[in-house]
């Protein structure tokens, strides 16, 4: 039986910024329904990696395959369709500040799913808000939300199109420990309930431990190590152990 197509693959990914290779012939693969955590120090290229994988930044060399389709060679129409299968939770949540919570999700539903019936838009809005435990914030403006609620709203927006793949950029950064745990739990629950593949970029070990099926440690633009949390924590390599101190 043929192996399932990975949800996401990077083959020999190279991206240079200012002459420096931020990503250097990087190989990465994410299975269907798997949660992969990318750990790395600040400035090691985690966000660049995420942007290249999501098609927000082009690779100088190499290939990104999303559900087997080459992101770099997709024409604008196919790229748009491909992107509708992805969700992205940004570090700052990237909420549309001029729209209410309802407006943020309604905009996404109308533009992404092309649904125009107001009753259906409202039903989907309430459904996705309930999925992230944000029903009470329906009519509020983003400025009235806490950091954790903004992340939940960002996740709700990412879930609107029922994606098969979700990217999380530093999902717990700037949150208190309790809220961080809640967000990590939500990531895990979303993965279990919907079976989505997830790629989490973080430097928060608690988040990594709570969410990861597999961890990749990034350094110098390449993969320094790969394995489960327990395997990497038990590593005898000082450079790897330094991440778990």
């Amino acid at each position: 039986m043929a192996a399932a197509t990975p949800a996401l693959q990077m083959i020999d990914g190279t991206r240079r910024i200012g002459g420096r290779a931020v990503l250097d012939r990087l190989q990465l693969s994410l299975g269907q329904g798997e949660t992969l955590v990318v750990l790395g120090r600040s400035g090691c290229g985690k966000t660049v990696l995420l942007k290249c994988l999501a098609g927000l930044m082009r690779l100088d060399e190499g290939t990104v395959l999303v559900q087997g389709q080459d992101l770099g060679r997709a024409d604008p129409a196919s790229l748009s369709l491909l992107r509708r299968k992805m969700g992205f939770l940004f570090q700052g949540a990237a909420i549309y500040d001029s729209l209410s919570v309802r407006g943020n999700l309604a905009f996404q539903i109308r533009k992404q799913l092309l649904i125009r019936d107001p009753a259906e838009v409202d039903r989907l809005t309430r459904e996705v808000l309930a999925d992230v435990g944000l029903e009470d914030a329906y009519g509020r403006m983003p400025s009235e939300l806490s950091g954790g609620m903004r992340k939940r709203l960002g996740l709700a927006r990412a879930l609107v199109s029922k994606p098969g793949l979700i990217f999380y950029d530093e999902p717990t950064t700037g949150l208190d420990p309790v809220t961080s745990q809640e967000i990590s739990r939500l990531i895990r629950e979303t993965q279990r309930a919907r079976g989505v593949a997830a790629l989490v970029v973080t430097h928060d070990l608690h988040c990594a431990k709570a969410t990861a099926d597999r961890i990749v440690i990034l350094g110098g633009g390449a993969c320094l190590a790969e394995g489960s949390y327990a395997q990497l924590e038990a590593s005898e390599d000082e450079a790897i152990r330094a991440f778990f101190l």
Partner: protein
């Protein structure tokens, strides 16, 4: 790119603006226009700028009349004042003053709003979910400025004429109907058409330039400030260049 970019840097920026204009046009024609968003943006921009345009134009009309009067009086040509002021207002002063006010008021607003969307990754959030940020953010704003600025120019022209009449009435009362008759007696379609055409070009340019500055904003609050500043400076500079080109073109076509 730093603030002290040379000629090549400016040309590169101009090239990117032209490419951005092409992409915006393509986004406009390749997707169903969101007319409700066009109207909302048009209302916001028009409503936000109308007061400033009206007051500025009124003052310009009044000052132009008060300052021109003594000179015309020297030659016994005071009766020509309404006609001269109207020609100046409709052909040049009205469109340019309104466009300059809009480049400041509307250009800074769009530049800052789009730049902060860019910096807070809201534009990336659209793109990554297959929603065209150009279509949702740039197109409605550019369409709104293109449609609203000509209307603001007409309202500004009316306010300037009102100012001019007040300027006349200060020293020698004149019936408004007589003032208007004198004002319009020497105006021809060939005076008005190029003026209206250039206001459309002003609106298109101000919207495009401001949205482009926002889309190109660099990270952080300093990036938003720089983009806002660029939107205003490039908007004002562009208005003068378009005006220069329009005057030469209309002279070529209409001969005056």
């Amino acid at each position: 790119m730093n603030d002290r970019e040379g000629i090549s840097g400016r040309m590169e920026r101009l090239g990117r603006l032209v490419r951005f204009a092409g992409r915006t046009a393509s986004a406009l024609f390749n997707a169903r226009p969101d007319l409700s968003e066009w109207i909302r943006q048009g209302y916001l921009l028009g409503n936000r700028s109308f007061g400033l345009v009206a007051v500025t134009a009124f003052i310009v009309g009044l000052v132009l009349t008060v300052q021109s009067r003594p000179t015309l009086a020297l030659f016994g040509a005071e009766n020509w004042l309404p006609s001269m002021v109207a020609l100046s207002i409709f052909k040049e002063i009205g469109p340019v003053i309104t466009a300059l006010v809009c480049a400041g008021r509307i250009g800074s607003g769009i530049g800052a709003e789009v730049a902060s969307m860019k910096v807070s990754e809201q534009l990336d959030a659209m793109e990554v979910s297959g929603i065209s940020a150009l279509n949702c953010v740039a197109v409605p704003r550019v369409a709104a400025t293109t449609l609203v600025i000509p209307v603001l120019v007409l309202l500004g022209d009316a306010a300037a004429l009102l100012g001019s009449w007040v300027g006349m009435a200060i020293s020698s009362p004149m019936a408004p109907s007589l003032f208007l008759t004198h004002a319009f007696e020497n105006l021809a379609y060939s005076d008005l058409l190029p003026a209206v055409a250039k206001t459309v070009a002003f609106g298109l340019y101000i919207g495009l330039c401001a949205a482009h500055c926002g889309f190109e904003a660099e990270p952080g609050p300093a990036g938003v400030a720089k983009a806002t500043n660029r939107a205003v400076v490039q908007g004002i500079f562009g208005v003068f260049l378009i005006d220069l080109a329009a005057v030469n073109l209309s002279t070529l076509v209409f001969g005056s």
